[in-house]
Amino acid sequence: MSTIAEIFGRPLSAINVGAAMFAEDIKAQGAAVTHLDWTPPGGGRPDVVAALATLARPDLAERIEAANAVAVERIVTSQPVLVGFGRALDVVPGMTKKTILHAGPPIAFERMAGAMKGAVTGALVFEGLAKDLDEAYELAASGEIDFSPCHEHNAVGSMAGVTSASMFMHIVENRPYGNYAYTNLSEQLAKILRMGANDSTVIDRLNWMRDVFGPILRDAMVSAREIDLRMMLAQALHMGDEAHNRNNAGTTLLIQALAPHILDSGFSTKDKQDVFNFVASSDYFSGPTWMACSKAAMDSAHDIEYSTVVTTMCRNGVDFGIRVSGLGQGTWLTGPAQVVEGPLFPGFTVADRGLDIGDSAITETYGIGGFAMACAPAIVPLVGGTVSEAIEYSRTMADITTTTTNPALTIPILGFRGTATGIDVRKVEETGILPVINTAIAHKEAGIGMIGAGLTHPPIEAFHAATLALAEKYQ
């Protein structure tokens, strides 16, 4: 008995790929048909198509699937726990007094975006390495400063991501795998170092964060010992956050957990009040926390041979860089940083926008942020679209990730489906769907700060580079 004949016993139901007229004809005959919104794989580039064909070879595809299963298993079973706060010099691997960590893939000072230059010079003044911004600029260009990506120090940095020795960092331990992740504290507001602002108000705030805010949080965590971030993140998603651009719920949950321990610290009531007021001044307080949480989980998936899972997406305002598990932590695949489309603060125009910047896309790499937009219908205005579009983003991201979703982080409106996890380079190429990133917009010039927020995507070039490198390595 031919199994082909089985189709003769059931109604014809078609999927049409290519010319729409064939779908229309099938529909006109009363049969079910779905017409695909299809784009050529690999952007239609012959070398990339050939590389994809190599990766699709059955023996190789089998190894890749097995490796990706391991990678995504590590991601979804990661249990990031906040265990403390401490000075970068004391806690971040490889940190020195003359090291400046920055967001994104490696970049020389000369090539840095305006916002990042502003942050670097501000940080040098803050550290006392330069007496003013002009001197800081000379020092930065002198070659005496070690610039290095946060990502190469188990760290992430929001926006410019500029991190210097005296800044206080989150310390996040990934319980099952024993790796640590670090990130800076939120400066709240808009005119801040990480957005490229660097005047005295910015430096004064950094001083207070170093002298009061950081130490109080450090002492509070000594008392609290640990906060399970994954559990708190799961709650925040159910409360309407996507944990990149909307952190209202997460910030409330986090300060609620810290509050008794802050009160228990030995600081003055005035200092404690200042801390609570500072946290209340912006919903972003927990934004960096979720970045470190995501970083801890994603670092556990590095360096799994044959895996095509993306472990890093980040930008320095000039280049967008990704890293892929099988290609190793040392390999950056880059393309040009993109424009961020979204509403701007009053008084600013599209001509003021800097390009996409920051390590915050680690949240999307982990499966939250833009990937969890269905959790956060309230940020739809950022998308400039409808609630169904926001839901569609979360649905679509499952087309470019592994088949495993994160059972700990669920999306109520999608029937509590887990967040799409483990961006697969091959699937990005096959579908032409790029990861969606919710992010802030910094002014293109140094010294000004945040001017808006919106949506963006990585450049496809970074994925082409990764695909070609994977095929080259494993052919």
Binding site: S2, T3, I4, A5, I7, F8, R10, L12, S13, A14, I15, N16, V17, G18, A19, M21, F22, A23, D25, I26, Q29, A32, T34, L36, D37, W38, T39, P40, P41, G44, V49, L52, A53, A56, A190, N245, R246, G342, P343, L344, F345, P346, G347, A378, I379, P381, L382, V387, S388, E392, T396, A398, D399, K427, E430, T431, G432, I433, G452, A453
Partner: protein, 519 residues
Amino acid sequence: MPTRTLIKNNTYVDSVSLMSISTKAAALDGVVNAVAAMATPMNKEILTNQGLITAEIEASTPGDLVLIVVTDGDEAGADAALEGLIGLLDRKPTGSDTEVTYRTVRAAAAGRPDANVAVISVNGAFAAGEAHHALDAGLNVMLFSDNVPLADEIALKQKAHEAGLLMMGPDCGTAIINGVSLCFANKVRRGRIGIVAASGTGAQEMSVRIHDFTGGVSQLLGTGGRDLSAEVGAIMMLDGIDALDSDPGTDVIVVVSKPPASEVAEKVLDRLAASAKPSVVCFLGAGPEVAEAAKTRGIAFFDRTKPAALAAVVASGVDESTLDLHALNWPLIEEVRAKLTPEQKYIRALFCGGTLCDESMFLALEKYDDVYSNISKDPAKRLRGTDPSRGHTFLDFGEDEFTNGKPHPMIDPSNRIERFRTEAADPEVGVIVMDIVLGYGSNPDPVGVMLPAITEAKANAAAAGRHLEILAYVLGTESDFQGFDEQVAKLTGAGVTWASSSTNTGLLAREFVYKGENA
């Protein structure tokens, strides 16, 4: 610059929405700057920096909404701009669209578990990849795309064979499954004759002739033109025969192909011989060895489509004596011969359908040597599409040299108009032959597209004092959406002779121009 400021007390709108509203307001007519912001300390600082702060704003609380428009027109314009900004605060609920968009075969197959066939017509460079995805998702495949490498075809068909799935194509133009026509196919009666065809227009012709002879089609499976090559080894034709053999809806199996590789032909014939169901083989242009091989296995064999269709219909139980067999119209042939001068001696055939072209060409070759074509197997008789005609010339406008970057001539028959004009002006031309293919996928008015050129050519010939014979074949049924009768009426109205089948087209053409002892 005219500026308007409005404070709405105790009106909360979230900051992200306000940013969106400000941005939209800034795009309103005459607006230089627009602000919609809560009166927070941070926003007050921004407004101070921009020189827009007022005492009233300074006194507002973070629960108050500040609206400002700065305009470059007159005072009335400023009022209108503020109204526009207020209007943007009224957000209407948007309907939700539940239609899910799929971008990949994999995602669509997962989201549509009832799906059982993928119809793929993307560029050949990507077609095999998509077909692999479809087979991996458990879907039968109709691969319409051409320019798919042979190695990919073999890999796909082996995968399909192992999975028990149809892998029709590449370059499969026609299929009818469960009465649903896919790509280029005609609306024919459902019935009990199953067709497996390695040629698209051959399949269309067979299904339409069966319909015309009052028979019906159970299933029509296309295999793609290379399936019966030695390399592919008829993987899909053999699986298709298996499927029809076990299909309770099929009583008679018909196989259609251009001449197959001989060892492959034997495999196909062996498989048909093993079936209890009667079968009919139509291998166009096949030599006597294949005919003999079929005969020794007791299989009805034909090298023309029309008698094959008749045999299939009779095998399915139709009484031949009730049928209009469309016998060749000899009085018409005599009439045309009488109109042609001695130098009007060549056939110039301009086809959209490759198999239709083949059948007419093979029939001409039975009678003439000087037959040239862009699909000739004999290199000495092969023309490029751009070469001028020689002797009897048969051109298939569906070949890659014509379709590269252009729609198939069945979709856009205008591709052959220029060539038609050239041939019509040639005093050595005895008859111009054209096919008009109706059905799904084809041009909605294929005759209409050709008609102005036909009328003009006829007039030019008349003015030059010669007869221009145009023979057209309309492949279609009365149920095809283009309207069979209307298409034929347009042709005959323009003085075009029409043929009733592909076989008769070839026969009429070769007889019209015959200058032998009887002419």
